[in-house]
């Protein structure tokens, strides 16, 4: 196990940001921490990267204790933090050189690594340009290749695709996969994008309010939850309709509001038949109906009872900011 936490707890002024968190990450995998804002994702990354001390519990990264062997941990990791932390007035090359120097890489070796990293990030032609002029996606790419310049065992990415447009995101995901496969580096990322976790991660850990809700492969998570497919129905008097359906057919009600109803069922055909039959009996007409494979978002709602985008605000961030200052 390249990362292991046992009963990790973090408190800020008596408020628990992480409660008894235990998980482990296998070497070579892409591991995702999925949760809404304020779930405890950034706190976890900060503890794993030795930027914060745990209140209690044990944390091992690459076999080293993050408290007692912080220097060893730091030598084994690379970090791509949420905010852009490149030196804007240095060039891409200078940023990489500085980074290499921090890790005591010198001379020929440093030159080679910098060239390789520039090539990897497709930045050879812009190597001597000030980073200030780069777009968000380009900066992110540079930041990511920087994080593996010193050949770490693990790279941590905190909300890596935050603020990237769809094209850059897809490109960026490919970069992460390439780093993972070609450089054989374990990737630990946090995200609140379902599709990102689904696309990239070998395993996903769902976290909310400082607690782990589940941890499995995206496929298993989806299977475990849904027992089949998801049916979304738009219908008047949806609540009443949901009650009736619950009695009549073997299905899970995922979500219901005034005129929208989301259910999951193992037996798609039977469920559909029941839906139409009951709509007739109730005298309501179905305005829209769709059947699809479950997504991680469904899994998430199943666990937390709410969509991931409607997070609880940036509570943790606010606390962190106070501590930083």
């Amino acid at each position: 196990m390249i990362i292991e936490t046992r009963n990790l707890t973090k408190e800020y002024n008596g408020i628990k940001a992480l409660k008894d968190v235990s998980f482990s990450v296998k070497e070579g995998e892409i591991f995702g921490f999925l949760g809404p804002n304020g779930a405890g994702k950034t706190t976890t990354i900060k503890i794993l990267t030795t930027l914060l001390m745990p209140t209690s519990g044990e944390v091992y990264v690459n076999g080293y204790n993050v408290v007692e062997e912080a220097k060893k941990v730091r030598e084994s990791i690379g970090l791509v933090p949420q905010e852009n932390v490149l030196e804007n007035d240095l060039t891409a090359r200078e940023n990489l050189i500085f980074h290499g120097m921090l890790y005591n890489i010198k001379g020929r070796k440093l030159e080679d690594r910098v060239e390789k990293a520039l090539k990897f990030a497709d930045l050879e032609s812009r190597a001597d340009e000030k980073v200030r002029n780069f777009s968000g996606g380009t900066k992110r790419r540079l930041e990511t290749v920087k994080a593996f310049l010193h050949s770490p065992k693990i790279i941590f990415l905190d909300e890596p695709s935050l603020g990237l447009d769809p094209q850059s995101r897809r490109l960026f995901w490919d970069y992460i996969e390439k780093i993972n496969k070609e450089e054989k580096i374990t990737i630990f990322l946090t995200t609140h994008y379902m599709d990102e976790a689904d696309y990239l991660c070998d395993r996903v850990c769902i976290i909310d309010m400082g607690k782990i809700l589940d941890l499995d492969t995206p496929k298993n998570l989806k299977e475990k939850f849904g027992e089949g497919e998801v049916v979304e129905i738009t219908v008047p008097r949806a609540r009443k309709f949901a009650e009736i359906l619950k009695e009549k057919c073997e299905c899970n009600i995922i979500k219901v509001d005034e005129e929208r109803l989301k259910i999951s069922s193992k037996h798609k055909e039977r469920a559909l038949a029941e839906i139409f039959k009951n709509a007739d009996e109730l005298g309501v007409s179905i305005l829209d109906i769709s059947v699809r494979e479950p997504t991680l978002e469904d899994v998430f709602i199943h666990y937390t009872g709410k969509g991931i985008r409607e997070g609880k605000g940036d509570f943790t961030k606010a606390v962190l900011r106070r501590f930083k200052g």
Binding site: T50, L86, E87, L102, N104, K324, G325
Partner: protein, 367 residues
């Protein structure tokens, strides 16, 4: 766009800015209340006051009543603080900047007056602080004129032993160079820390294997190098402008040493302050309320002897006073170690304390 909508739109912008102004009271409070108060007090009392208590050594070779009267008259009004001394002692004090002038009353002072001849008073001056030596000589000349009714008058034999021909520019230059050092220390040391934190670049240092102490030391060295550079540039500009630097290469090394120690001290101080500062705005306020007054009350612009008593106490506690003194002594009087040791010792102690406090607070803030 009509005039009314123009004003309405301007009002919206004003409204938001005033809202922010009221919401974060510390900065506007200091800016609009403390600062004007501070300026008025400093400008009103530090500059243009009459110098008092100027230490002057008096060598009495004539103990007659006339001579004693003459000297005690000089002591009235509180301008001069007379220190009786032997001749050699007096000139040593002048050399080591313990006194600003030596007044020597020759043995034949009273006999000459009694004989109806011209008596002589020897006035030896240190012109390093021109305002002070001017005050001293005008006091002595005035007294000599007042005593001239008896006999053929008193001749003042004036002699500038140190800092001959010093202009206000010569006097000002050391203070300005020190000011350059302190300002660039605050803007390279403190500012860079605030910026690093604000933009999160410090994170990359914190996750790397280099030690926390090395981060602090590296930051401090960079700051010192930057402030030293601007100090040297100021020195060169002063030189080009004709400021006379009465010392050779060894003196230049001492100048560098003083600038270096001062740089370390102020970088340490700016680091300590920067730990508590989160925004650029606050740094500006600190600069305006701490650094500027420190400079004005350092004797860099205007001699401390002409400041009110309470301000002199502040000046005595102000490390800038010692840095300016040391630099001025080397630049205008050459290397006389006895004049430098105390000043250099004080700024060295200041530098050590500030570096310790600064790195301690900084380390605490990042772990």
């Amino acid at each position: 766009m009509s005039l009314i909508s123009f004003f309405r739109e301007s009002y919206v912008v004003t409204w938001k800015d005033m809202r922010l102004w009221v919401k974060n009271p510390m900065v506007p409070f200091t800016r609009s209340l403390m600062l004007p108060l501070l300026w008025i007090v400093i400008f009103g009392t530090a500059f243009g006051g009459t110098a008092t208590n100027i230490p002057v050594a008096v060598v009495m070779q004539d103990h007659s009543t006339i001579a004693t009267n003459f000297v005690s008259e000089l002591g009235t009004g509180g301008t001069l603080k007379l220190i009786p001394a032997s001749e050699s002692e007096a000139f040593r004090m002048l050399k080591y900047m313990k006194v600003s002038a030596v007044i020597l009353i020759p043995g034949d002072f009273s006999t000459r007056i009694k004989a109806g001849g011209r008596a002589e008073v020897m006035l030896s001056l240190d012109d390093t602080t021109p305002q002070i030596s001017t005050t001293v000589s005008s006091k002595v000349y005035g007294m000599a004129r007042a005593f001239s009714s008896s006999g053929k008058g008193i001749h003042v034999d004036k002699n500038t032993l140190y800092g001959r021909g010093i202009t206000y520019l010569d006097f000002l230059a050391p203070g300005v160079i020190i000011m350059t050092i302190i300002f660039s220390s605050f803007f390279s040391g403190g500012l860079s820390l605030v910026m690093d934190r604000e933009f999160g670049t410090i994170t990359m240092l914190l996750v790397s294997p280099i030690s926390r102490d090395a981060i602090i030391m590296g930051k401090i060295f960079a700051g010192v190098l930057q402030s030293l550079t601007s100090g040297i540039v100021a020195l060169i500009i002063a030189f080009i402008m004709g400021v006379r630097i009465r010392t050779g290469f060894d003196g230049f090394l001492i100048i560098l040493l003083i600038l270096l120690i001062a740089g370390f001290g102020f970088i340490g101080m700016s680091t300590a302050l920067a730990v508590k500062i989160n925004e650029l705005d606050q740094l500006m306020v600190v600069t305006q309320t701490i650094i500027m007054p420190m400079w004005f009350i350092s004797g860099g612009l205007y001699p401390i002897a002409s400041m009110p008593h309470w301000m002199r106490i502040i000046a005595m506690l102000n490390p800038l006073t010692y840095a300016t003194n040391a630099l001025r002594a080397v630049m205008l009087r050459g290397i006389i170690w006895q004049t430098l040791t105390l000043d250099i010792a004080v700024i060295t102690a200041f530098a050590f304390v500030m570096l310790f406090v600064g790195s301690y607070l900084f380390k605490k803030s990042i772990s």
